[in-house]
């Protein structure tokens, strides 16, 4: 058997990939296999990014068995979870809320995590920022009490009360 790529040298590397139950086999010579390396990106190949993504959404091998037809559509953009799984893309910001439960394992699979800890916008995130401040203050209060610095603790308690009125 000759290499599928260069069609000149004998195929020495035989690669089998399984995606969504489809088996893709490649037979390459050592040189062409090295060129492709660990990252095979051939747009004509079924090993494409959207396919990869839709397999992330499903459980990988039993996608067709899980019922998805009954999921309601997002009231804001009209997309349902089946569409999301097919395209690998959500429809709008509200989809994240509507499909929160379904997305949880997907996010964990991609990021190993599902909680954002980075930047917070000062506008849409005012409340979030205040809540974070509140957590910090509560921790400081606890520390002051532990250290028996009661005057300092009283000051922090006042700041917390002030924040509480802002949050209400």
């Amino acid at each position: 058997m000759y290499c599928e790529e260069c069609k000149q040298k004998p195929a020495a590397v035989h690669l089998t990939q399984v995606f969504n139950g489809n088996i893709i086999q490649s037979h390459l010579c050592e040189e062409c296999a090295a060129k492709k390396g660990g990252f095979i990106f051939d747009p004509g190949n079924k090993f494409s990014i959207p396919n990869l993504l839709s397999s992330i959404f499903g459980s990988g091998y039993n996608m067709d068995l899980t019922p998805v037809a009954e999921t309601p559509s997002c009231p804001n953009c009209g997309i349902n979870y089946k569409n999301i799984r097919e395209t690998g893309k959500l429809g709008c910001s509200e989809c994240y809320r509507i499909y929160e439960q379904e997305l949880e394992p997907t996010l964990r699979r991609i990021h190993g995590n599902s909680q954002h800890i980075g930047k917070i916008p000062s506008r849409g995130g005012e409340k979030v920022l205040l809540r974070k401040q509140m957590e910090d203050l509560k921790a400081q209060l606890q520390e002051a009490v532990n250290m028996e610095e009661y005057e300092k603790a009283a000051g922090i308690r006042d700041s917390i009360k002030e924040l509480e009125t802002k949050l209400a």
């Binding site: 090295a34 390396g37 660990g38 990252f39 990106f41 747009p43 990014i49 993504l53 992330i56 804001n76 953009c77 997309i79 395209t87 690998g88 893309k89 959500l90 429809g91 709008c92 910001s93 509200e94 994240y96 809320r97 997305l103 997907t106 996010l107 991609i110 990021h111 190993g112 995590n113 599902s114 909680q115 954002h116 800890i117 980075g118 930047k119 917070i120 916008p121 000062s122 506008r123 849409g124 995130g125 979030v128 809540r131």
Partner: protein, 355 residues
């Protein structure tokens, strides 16, 4: 300023070869994905909704200091020809996918030296990018974040306390941050170590791609390395992590270059000399061959084996020999053979000073 000036100018900031570690790290990039609350993501926008979305973005944009001081310009794709858009791709200022349509609600915002850009209605409503020469991830982040803050003061971003910045694709959600570096690693490739090293990098949460990002092949020993995970880490952590791995790769590449110079001096000089010989005498040359030979010449310059041309000029040349830039220079549409002939001419002109 005018967007077309940036497109037609040969030089954009990232091509400056004198930056920190600029001999191996060609450029650094930070990209922030942002969306507007409740407005469908770009892949669901029809013409009417798309126009509305653009109007909101334009309104916010016109309130920003960058616009008011005339430092940045917005252009929609119905005003840019396919060739112009392709030139933006070749300069790494927009993605290949974004260049495909001439849609009136998709576009780009650029500053004069091409260091800051924003793609409008690509995969997300906004993709704010900063691109600088050498290893400057922190500087890129500061600049991109500055523009993000300016836009955010006018726009209602799609943000969720738990999930962070919400994006069309769940691979970007959280920080929406993609940090990347473009590396030139010829010694690693010559010594056959690239595959093993790049596989190890994958285990450290980094992805390696080709010259033009997702779905493109590695050419001319140029590798683009970026973070894979966007959630559960802060922006600073992502940048620091990528920077640390980059520094290690730079050290490894330097070490291998030194070793090559000691152990295989004649073979190395022969390879570089032959590359220069072909480039300076070829009359027809295709893109891949040119890129791979230019990589050898670049190595020769960086190692002091060749003199008389600056890394800047070579960075410029790598872009100038791409199809759209060649056709713009020739001011005519050309088939592949025509481009191969023009490419050989452009390279010869540029390499004249080499000794």
């Amino acid at each position: 300023m005018n967007v077309k000036d940036v497109i037609y100018n040969n030089f954009v900031t990232w091509m400056d070869g004198d930056a920190e570690n600029g001999d191996i790290v060609i450029s650094s990039r930070i990209r922030l994905a942002r969306n507007l609350r409740e407005i469908p993501f770009p892949h669901l926008l029809d013409q009417a909704k798309g126009e509305d979305c653009l109007k909101i973005i334009k309104g916010a944009w016109q309130e920003s200091p960058a616009y008011q001081q005339g430092q940045m310009e917005l252009e929609t794709f119905d005003h840019l020809s396919s060739l112009d858009r392709q030139m933006l791709v070749e300069k790494h200022l927009i993605s290949p996918g974004h260049a495909e349509t001439n849609s009136s609600f998709r576009g780009v915002v650029l500053n004069q030296d091409g260091s800051l850009s924003t793609m409008i209605n690509e995969e997300d409503h906004l993709r704010i990018q900063c691109l600088l020469p050498g290893l400057q991830l922190d500087e890129c982040y500061t600049l991109a974040q500055g523009l993000d803050d300016e836009l955010e003061s006018q726009l209602e971003y799609a943000f969720d306390e738990r999930r962070g910045y919400l994006t069309a694709c769940p691979t970007n959600v959280g920080t929406g941050l993609r940090a990347s570096v473009m590396l030139h690693l010829p010694a690693m490739q010559m010594t056959g170590q690239t595959n093993q090293i790049l596989q190890n990098i994958g285990q450290l949460g980094m992805t390696v791609r080709g010259l033009y990002g997702e779905g493109t092949e590695v050419a001319g020993n140029f590798f683009q390395m970026s973070n894979q995970i966007t959630m559960g880490q802060t922006e600073e952590e992502i940048c620091t992590h990528l920077r640390a791995i980059t520094v290690q790769l730079v050290e490894q590449e330097r070490l291998l270059r030194e070793r090559l110079q000691v152990d295989l001096k004649y073979q190395l000089e022969d390879k570089i000399g032959r590359a220069y010989g072909i480039l300076s005498h070829a009359r027809i040359i295709n893109s891949n061959e040119a890129l791979s030979l230019l990589s050898d010449v670049r190595l020769g310059i960086d190692m002091g084996i060749l003199q008389g041309i600056k890394p800047n000029d070579l960075n410029e040349l790598v872009v100038a020999i791409r199809p759209a830039h060649l056709q713009k220079r020739a001011e005519e549409e050309m088939d592949a053979t025509g481009r191969d002939i023009k490419r050989a001419q452009v390279i010869q002109e540029k390499l004249q000073g080499i000794q």
